[in-house]
Amino acid sequence: MSTVPSAGQAGALYWPVQARRNVGVRGLFAVVLAFLFAYGFLFPGLLTASGFAKFTQSWFPLALVAMAQAILMLTGGISLAIGAMVSLGAVIAATTMTGPLGVAGGAAAVALTGLGIGAATGFIVVRLRLPAIVVTLAGSFIIGGAALLILPRPGGAIPEWLSDLLAGNTPAAFVVLVLIVLLWKLYLATPLGLSLYAAGENPVGAYRSGVPVDGARIAAYAISGLLSTGAGLFVAAQTGSGDPVIGAAFTLNSIAAAVLGGIGFLGGQGTMRGALAGSLLLSLMISVMFFLGFTPVAQYVAQGLIIIGAVAIPQFRKVQQ
């Protein structure tokens, strides 16, 4: 006789399950904490309100694109168009928000563009069965070209109060990030969210068990698009204007952050908290190297080495066991 766990039992199970999902990323959390302490020790300004605000603001866009990449990788997909999406979000925000649409209209335009392009990409990959790498690589040309068409050279403007609110001395970015994480938790509780891991881990098995595999994957692409253009809006608010190529670096960094966070390429492996920790680690590394006066050359070299090391070492341990 099998018994269905009652609500009370299910609640009691929740925390042990969550704790078990931490197992894979415990080492990463320790490294991030160590880096945070080192950073706070080197630059005591981190502990003041404005220092904390600035720090979270430099992390925020990377955290968003890491989530955007992670949600795709969890379903077994990938996007090489994240950087172009960030650029597109930035130029749309910079050209609409001071116009007749206003801030609300501009934000809506950014969100709708992200959702729409993401859903279209998802449709092409999932329904027309084209490889995600190639579709998003070609897509990055289309989206980047669209960004150039909207704003051929850096320009446009973001209302000053919005820049002050998002990128001023308030921890607004951190609050938004916490909200997004809470929304992610809610999404995981919906049928589509539950299907996410199943669709990535074993698509055929999931399909045969009645999981809406295609729907879950297309929804993941749409959400990923929304997060990417949202990151673009924030970057535009940070700089006060739009730049059609500002997002270029985010493609590699989003993949690096997700992989540092333990997200697997084959789908269904990893957790969002890992991806967030990965993005935090990457962001810390970049700012520590910047403050220590590394030249851009040394930063490239060090970043390449650290990423390979961080990915290779856990694999080594697995092999030895």
Binding site: P131, A138, I308
Partner: protein, 323 residues
Amino acid sequence: MTAWKDSAYGRRALTILRSRPFLTVAIVAAVWIAASFASRGFGAYGHLRYLVELGAVIGLVAAGQTFVVIAGGIDLSVAAIVTVSAVSLPLLSWQADPTGVTGILAVLVLTTAIGLVNGLGVALLRVHPMIMTLAMATFLQGLLIIIAGGSAVTAENPVVRWLGNARPAGIPAGVLLWVLVSVIVLTTMHATSFGARIFAMGANSLAAALSGVPVTSTTLAVYGISGFTSGLAGVLVLGMNGQGYVGIGDPYLLASIAAVVLGGTSILGGLGTYAGTIPGAILLVTITALITVVNASPGWRSVMFGSLILGLLLLSGREQARR
């Protein structure tokens, strides 16, 4: 039923007609015919020869990429390797050797070594190919700024200049090089045990390992080949341009992957042929040439390039349904 379909020759002909490389050749032919009606100079022999000459660079980069993709990996560092090759050639050229052959050999050894390091990371450290090669590209980007410092370098090497400009018997030397490489690649891929091992590894790496395929050394070889052909492409592009600069290889990343996929090779590995990549490379150059003819702004050009590749993929690059 008609008799010809049942004869051996008929079946053979049907297989060729239905194959993906043939489809790609047909698309190239259709585009060329349509374009030469639409635009006057397009169909001229000189212009088509020029297109194939440009296609040679993509074809060389895509040769290594085809090996890697069939083996179940991907090489995102090819653009950086092309740049390394083009930029470091003048630095590695000996004064004592007037022919410049040693310089080219040194560059090819260097780029093959870079490829082997990629292979080491993938095979021994078990880093995912995408991460390993992307990190390698980042690493090389830093290295390039040290080597070149942002300024353009000029090729004084006579062999390189010959390769980029000479036309023995009316055929560009670069195209001859491409033909030579194509013959070697196709033979290696389809007529040696090494080639068979690559397909086995790409189809199912675990099964291949259990059947006695030396997975580690084969992976090393595949990435080494990719480094070698990218280095060769860098030498050719330096000869054609006359100058090398940081970023000269950038267009060849998307181009090499697109040529491989347009040619019918599965990005998931284990299935494909370089015979499809060759027309794939020519197709890509043709698209770029057509877009240049239209004379649009950079934004539109980028949008058109991406859309055309996507459209062509819908024609020829679809993966099989999994259920």
